[in-house]
Symmetry: C2
Subunit: 376 residues, 2 copies
């Protein structure tokens, strides 16, 4: 994997990432295909909206269908039909999202499977092996993504201690992950942790860089901290990261969060918001978000976003989309997801152009101004 | 609407139906888009698999979103983006499928809506008006589709009496429907009823023809009668129907049922089997039906049907389709539906060619021989 920065605007960068399955122009958004498919959205739809790279989940694919099956079908590329690059998340986030089923030891994370109750152990080593079997272009190290919230039974000092422990364990795991890699064609990214502490984020970033990875991610954000804290944490991390490696902000967020990330020097993003909101009838537009199930759209013949170039906006009206989502017709979820994904992809295409022309701040202000809804 | 028979093979016909929205080569299968959308399948998918005409449901669209909204969006064509012809079913079938919510009088059918509990009256007249508002190319008359089953509490003589009454009421309603039509561009089809009685079917067909419609349908079949009875009823009806008008077998069926219909001189078909079976992972192939969730397909890299030309078979393996359906991913339902719809459309394209070359019986024997499953 190669990465070249082509232009900058303050801390923001426009770059090109060369993967084993093609070039990716950054900054960009990766559509989330947890189990190897974006819900209801086919590879043809994804190509039509300019998707460059998809993201799948190691833990979930390990459970179903299992990496050996994916491997036997030519990896994620052959199995799913998406021939562009794939990034796979490690399963570290499931330590948090499936916390009630996860127990952590120095060896790794043991999940009690929601499918069959069996115990499944993910270690820094086997997570790299699974991602190699999946044929990932970019693999993530296993991290301990812990986000304890201070409260009466969980005082701030105790919380801070746990975040520090998780960050330190993630560093030890990162060292083991790097040693475990066998497949030279697969890039491996380290993950910066440390909650909302400047000091911990800085230490985590420095020590992750010292281990040495093909790229770096900011983990454990978008989980309750406020916007200023988040921007600060990304900035602190990026100061320590090498400028010639790609940076990935995991799991975030709303349009303005992505532009905050770009402004702070992030190159890659992923989030389930476009598809999840789409399924619920919340559409992103350049005028703000639009709740398409609202009765006011029942006979609105305009496309969801008149300025959008996606297949949904080219062929369908608000009235039809509202009807489909009101009757729970899956075509509605698909059309809304396609539109929202295009909004995210286009937003980052615009951000890239803005970086190259020194106008990122103006784009960010435009998007900030439309953070509300248009139909309240 | 014009209809021309281009070739015959026994009673079977190959024809061309000219509608207000383009030509339809018959025999053909209409994909079912009850609420104005084939579940999960977009107009782009439908065009790619050679769909010619879609079928929507008057009763359901009357409830949601209401015909006035559809009308305000340019009818079904403008509203849904499917610019080819639309046939709309009248709601007569809902007399049977929503029997617990329907009460019948000479005036019409009153449904207690499952949505809001309100009473909605469908009459022969307003059903024509609704279909005119929907912009249907082909409308169906309201009929009383009753299929009482003889049993201990419902003796055969009583059953026969009710079928006869329903058939006679359907004739009176057909007369009223014909008088109610205002839109000359919309074709109106009559419906032959009469259960499984030769005498009733013959009388119904003769009297429906005497009223005079643009085309004729066989209603109330595929509801429990055996194959021989069904073929006989279609034959009896067709003897009475004019040869220069299109004939439509409503709601049927399995592949072999369609070929039985073609052999008996039917031109149009519709059925939910391809999409419903697809969602459940039952795929039609020229080797028989394939239950894709079966474990034997978990690493089968062949397309669902190696001889199929659909987008699913061109791009995806049995292993991927099985995975998607096992995890309830809606892309799986879409890909399986697209495949099954293509199977049905292609089957009738093959039937058309077979009629024109005098080989229909050979095709029917081929399909009969593959009526089982390939994975038992």
């Amino acid at each position: 994997m190669k990465f070249a920065v082509e232009g900058q605007d303050g801390s923001a960068r426009a770059g090109v990432l060369e993967t084993s399955h093609g070039e990716v122009r950054t900054p960009t958004f990766m559509c989330v295909a947890t189990y190897g498919a974006v819900r209801g959205v086919g590879p043809d739809d994804l190509a039509a909206i300019g998707a460059q790279m998809l993201l799948a989940n190691t833990y979930h694919l390990h459970e179903r269908p299992g990496e050996e099956i994916v491997k036997s079908q030519g990896g994620l590329h052959g199995f799913t039909g998406w021939q562009g690059p794939w990034l796979t998340d490690s399963g570290g986030f499931q330590v948090s999202s499936l916390a009630h089923r996860a127990s952590i030891s120095e060896e790794g994370v043991t999940f009690s499977s929601p499918l069959d109750g069996e115990r499944r152990l993910l270690t820094p080593e086997n997570v790299v092996g699974i991602q190699e079997a999946l044929g990932s272009d970019i693999a993530m190290v296993l991290d301990e993504c812990r986000t304890p919230v201070p409260n009466a039974g969980n005082p701030a000092a105790e919380t801070a201690r746990r975040v520090e422990e998780a960050m330190e364990r993630s560093l030890r795991w990162a060292t083991r992950a790097k040693r475990a890699r066998k497949e030279p064609g697969m890039a491996l990214f380290g993950i910066v942790q440390g909650g909302v502490s400047d000091a911990l984020r800085r230490r985590s970033a420095n020590e992750t860089v010292a281990i040495g990875f093909d790229g770096y991610a900011h983990g454990g954000l978008g989980l309750g901290e406020d916007r200023d804290q988040r921007v600060e944490m990304i900035g602190v991390g990026n100061e320590a990261l090498p400028t010639d490696a790609p940076r990935y902000l995991m799991g975030l967020g709303k349009p303005v969060d992505l532009l905050d990330g770009v402004a702070a020097g992030v190159d890659l993003f992923d989030c389930v918001i476009p598809t999840r909101n789409g399924r619920h009838g919340v559409l992103f537009t350049r005028q703000g978000t639009l709740r398409i199930k609202n009765a006011r759209y029942k006979d609105d013949s305009r496309p969801p976003d008149p300025s959008c170039d996606c297949p949904t906006c080219k062929s369908h009206s608000r009235a039809y989309l509202r009807h489909l989502l009101k009757i729970d017709e899956s075509l509605g979820a698909r059309l809304a997801s396609v539109h929202n994904l295009r909004f995210y992809l286009a937003l980052l295409e615009q951000a890239r152009t803005a970086v190259l022309t020194g106008r990122l701040e103006s784009l960010r202000r435009d998007i900030e101004a439309t953070a509300g809804t248009v139909d309240d």
